[in-house]
């Protein structure tokens, strides 16, 4: 009450609730702490972890997956991706591919739209740098990251398959249990 009244209730009740509160904190003394001693110990990241972005190579042919179609550039809400297409005979490539990681909001929309599963996200976020310019990832850097760290589950085709409306086969949709968990 916004006045000067002293503590309401009996002294006994006060002491009893005080003891209850102290019992809860005391019991917690003997529980294991929830601290993970990073970086000595690392928390296990789930399969779908949305970490740093990377570009990939085709697993069989070894070619770059990116065809420079710029769909990711158009979809990106903060517009951090800049791509230039390089036309070639059989297929297109990306001439340059810049991704400003310091402004990226890690929303995974670029991964979702990619028709060739070129851009993916990795199961790491650990890219601390001294100079912000090092977070302006160019194509080389993105490919190197893709080789260095483990990728997350999400690829363009995977996400689109998960979100697809009822399949024509008429069976169950891409329901729970199929995607990596």
């Amino acid at each position: 009450m916004p006045d000067g009244r002293a503590v309401d209730g009996t002294v006994w009740r006060t002491m009893r609730t005080a003891a209850a509160a102290m019992a809860v904190t005391f019991r917690n003394l003997f529980r294991k702490p929830v601290t993970v001693h990073y970086p000595d110990a690392v928390r296990p990241y789930p399969d779908r972890f949305r970490g740093v972005l990377a570009l990939t190579y085709h697993p069989e042919t070894g070619e770059e997956n990116c065809i420079g179609c710029r769909l990711c550039e158009y979809i990106c809400p903060p517009q951090v991706i800049k791509v230039e297409m390089l036309k070639a005979e059989k297929r297109n490539y990306a001439k340059t591919f810049f991704l400003e990681l310091y402004s990226c909001e890690f929303c995974e929309l670029c991964v979702q739209v990619c028709p060739t599963d070129a851009i993916i996200m990795l199961k790491t976020f650990d890219l601390a740098v001294d100079d912000r310019r090092e977070l302006l990832l160019d194509k080389e850097r993105l490919h190197a990251l893709g080789l260095e760290f483990r990728p997350s589950w999400a690829t363009g085709t995977g996400l689109r398959a998960m979100q697809a409306p009822k399949p024509k086969s008429g069976g169950k949709g891409p329901a729970a249990g199929d995607a990596a968990g």
Binding site: D3, V7, A18, M22, T25, F26, P33, H37
Partner: protein, 329 residues
């Protein structure tokens, strides 16, 4: 004065002072680790693995190396002097506190009175800190502090007098000797009530939760010490902890039987430290379990509940002693 005389005069206080400072520094680590475990985390860990043993030293070094900022508009004299005025009484308390049989710097006849009087001087230093900062938050906090500490000193003194009445002397050594058979805290009803009252009033005069409206980090940031940085801040922190531990030592002497414990007499100081640290841990445990009471509620509590209760307790103690037919001082 010969060198030997000089050594015997300066030596013991020097040793005591340094011992107390080192103990207090590591008590801060103990508080942090204890608090961490209560909160499901680990506390200082990395500095001096694995338990953060070097953390207090690292903190002290850090504070030494920090820039000493004095606000332009501050009252320089008061601002600079305040940490010292805050610190001196805290250390002075230890002069009259005996750690074991016969081991006390100043075996005063009025030992308890001296300790209580000196510990009450803290509030002067506190107010100087708040006033000298020339800062609304600091001033508000200092005003709350003066209000609160002065209101709680009265029941504190009355409750601390209960063991005096039961013993018949103010000499701290005598109070401990009177607990040979039974610690005062084990006295039926009287002892327990007095102990609880002692704890609560200690929390209040120390500005500890649930009575820490003075600093109230979430409202006034650091309260009266908001403008202090570097070594002056370290001195203020040291003074607060020293004062708190001093009152915990006092509690041990008054209620927990001082240095009495099983084993040879040489273990006396060990038991004393153990009991004081336990009392200290109890205070920390309370700190991390409660919310803060609002200032007008704190004051209401003091004057309307604790003062009459403490008076009643003292009268009851007197009646018990008179009925027993002993003591009287």
């Amino acid at each position: 004065m010969s060198a030997g005389d000089l050594l015997s005069t300066v030596g013991p206080p020097f040793l005591l002072l340094n011992g107390v400072i080192i103990l207090i520094t590591y008590l801060t680590l103990l508080e942090r680790k204890f608090a961490a475990r209560v909160q499901s985390r680990v506390g200082p860990y990395r500095v001096g693995r694995p338990h953060g043993w070097l953390q207090p030293i690292a903190d002290a070094l850090k504070l030494l190396l920090k820039e000493d900022v004095v606000p332009t508009a501050a009252d320089r004299g008061v601002f600079n002097l305040a940490p010292l005025v805050f610190l001196a009484p805290a250390f002075l308390m230890y002069a009259a506190i005996p750690f074991a049989e016969g081991q006390v710097l100043a075996n005063l006849e009025i030992g308890l009175l001296f300790v209580l009087a000196v510990s009450s001087l803290e509030v002067v230093g506190l107010f100087m800190c708040g006033w000298g900062s020339n800062n609304k938050y600091a001033l508000l906090s200092a005003m709350r502090a003066v209000n609160q500490i002065i209101s709680y000193e009265v029941p504190f003194i009355l409750v601390a007098l209960v063991p005096v009445v039961l013993t018949g002397s103010m000499r701290l050594q005598a109070i401990v000797d009177a607990q040979t058979g039974l610690w005062f805290v084990a006295y039926p009803v009287l002892g327990q009530l007095a102990f609880v009252g002692f704890l609560v009033t200690t929390l209040a005069s120390e500005n500890r939760i649930p009575f820490d409206i003075v600093e109230a980090e979430s409202e006034l940031v650091a309260g009266f010490r908001v403008e202090y940085s570097g070594m002056k801040f370290a001195l203020i922190q040291l003074a607060e902890f020293t004062h708190l531990f001093g009152l915990a030592c006092l509690g041990t002497l008054l209620f927990l039987g001082g240095w009495r414990g099983p084993g040879p007499a040489g273990l006396g100081p060990v038991w004393f430290i153990l009991k004081s640290v336990t009392l200290f841990l109890l205070i920390i445990w309370v700190r991390w379990s409660f919310l803060r009471i609002r200032v007008d509620q704190i004051l209401g509590l003091s004057w309307k509940v604790f003062l009459p209760a403490a008076l009643a307790l003292l009268l009851a103690a007197g009646a018990v002693v008179a009925a027993r037919g002993g003591g009287g001082a």
